[in-house]
């Protein structure tokens, strides 16, 4: 039984509480929006390769909050070096989730390196993440995301499927200001 990305992301964001969320551009931004748009979600529409680093910046700025990055395999591959940077900084409150469909979903479903066996979880582990694993089954990840000390890395294998677009707001200033207002009480 293979996992479906929208179900996986919906479950990751269930009862999210004070969780701070950054999503990589493309499908994962649509996924978090399908699960329910939220002021403490920052979906990106560009800056490919930087989702994990945005999560690191956020985790270092807000050490008392839990931070979750949800991104795709193509986006993560473009910023592979950031896994090394996170491994060095070791933020306890950061989890990076890669929703891995082994495809570039927005550009015609071309295969990514993970389809040929590149193991992102192994890279993260080698870079110094506290825990790192490939997930292929429907299991609870709540403790990892909300409680135990990280940094954590989860590579969740999902079906390659084209789904209806569920688009978040596109105005970057609005996305940034609503996040800061909800978190800090200022724009």
């Amino acid at each position: 039984m293979k996992l479906h990305r929208r179900d996986v992301v919906k479950k990751l964001l269930e009862k999210r509480g004070s969780l701070l969320v950054v999503a990589g551009l493309g499908s994962t931004s649509w996924d978090i929006t399908a699960a329910g748009d939220h002021p403490l979600s920052f979906p990106t529409w560009g800056a490919m390769g930087q989702a994990a680093m945005m999560g690191l910046g956020l985790a270092l700025a807000q050490p008392k909050r839990r931070v979750l990055v949800i991104t795709g395999d193509g986006e993560m591959l473009m910023g592979l070096g950031s896994l090394a940077t996170i491994g060095v900084q070791k933020p306890k409150n950061l989890t990076v989730v890669v929703i891995d469909n082994e495809r570039y979903g927005e550009t015609g479903m071309q295969v990514t390196h993970t389809a040929s066996g590149v193991n992102l979880a192994a890279v993260a582990k080698a870079c110094g993440f506290k825990t790192s694993r490939v997930v292929t089954k429907n299991i609870s990840l709540r403790d990892t995301i909300h409680r135990t000390a990280g940094p954590h890395f989860l590579q969740i294998k999902v079906v390659a499927e084209k789904l209806p677009l569920v688009l978040p707001p596109q105005d970057g200033v609005q996305l940034k200001d609503r996040f800061r207002r909800a978190l800090l009480g200022k724009g």
Binding site: A47, Q50, L56, G57, L60, A61, F179
Partner: protein, 170 residues
């Protein structure tokens, strides 16, 4: 000796900069050391300059002000991701030590050095050049007040590295 670095560090501290991302450069050696030694700042060494833009954007979302240090060759690495500073209006001060200018010993540094200012400007980052040591800190201070994306380019003649030997001795 890089006395301007001590002045820049003071300005960063005074402006409440809590995170400093950098890709090392010999010209930034002193400033990097000062930031690392400062307990009120977290210094983050990056594998590529692009990461500094993501780091700064995330930090600002979380309420922390950051600064980014790099050499001019790194500016070419960040062109696409600079777009996020413009579309989301993230403020960020980027301090750049120049290569490829007068006194350069490595011709491979010249093309990017010549294109550095233009690369920032095509992506909407305002650029100021410091051509004497005393100009650096005031320009950084001014940029920190501006609450926008701004780069300060530190002329190679201020850095004064002219050979591989000088670079090793930094």
């Amino acid at each position: 000796m890089q006395p301007w670095a001590d002045e820049v560090h003071r300005e960063l501290k005074q402006a409440g900069v809590r995170l400093v991302g950098y890709v090392p450069d010999a010209g930034h050696k002193r400033l990097i050391e000062l930031c690392h030694a400062d307990k009120s700042m977290r210094s983050v060494v990056l594998t590529t300059e692009e990461e500094g833009i993501g780091l700064a954007a995330g930090a600002w979302l979380g309420g922390a002000r950051s600064a980014l240090l790099m050499q001019s060759s790194g500016v070419g690495n960040i062109v696409n991701v600079l777009g996020i500073l413009k579309t989301c209006r993230f403020p960020l001060v980027i301090v750049v030590t120049m290569r490829g200018e007068a006194g350069e010993f490595n011709s491979w540094q010249v093309p990017m050095g010549e294109g550095t200012q233009a690369a920032f400007e095509i992506m909407g980052v305002s650029v100021k050049r410091a051509s004497a040591p005393g100009e650096v800190a005031p320009l950084v201070a001014q940029a920190l007040k501006g609450e926008q994306a701004a780069a300060i380019l530190i002329s190679q003649k201020i850095i004064g590295i002219k050979s591989f030997q000088d670079q090793t001795n930094q």
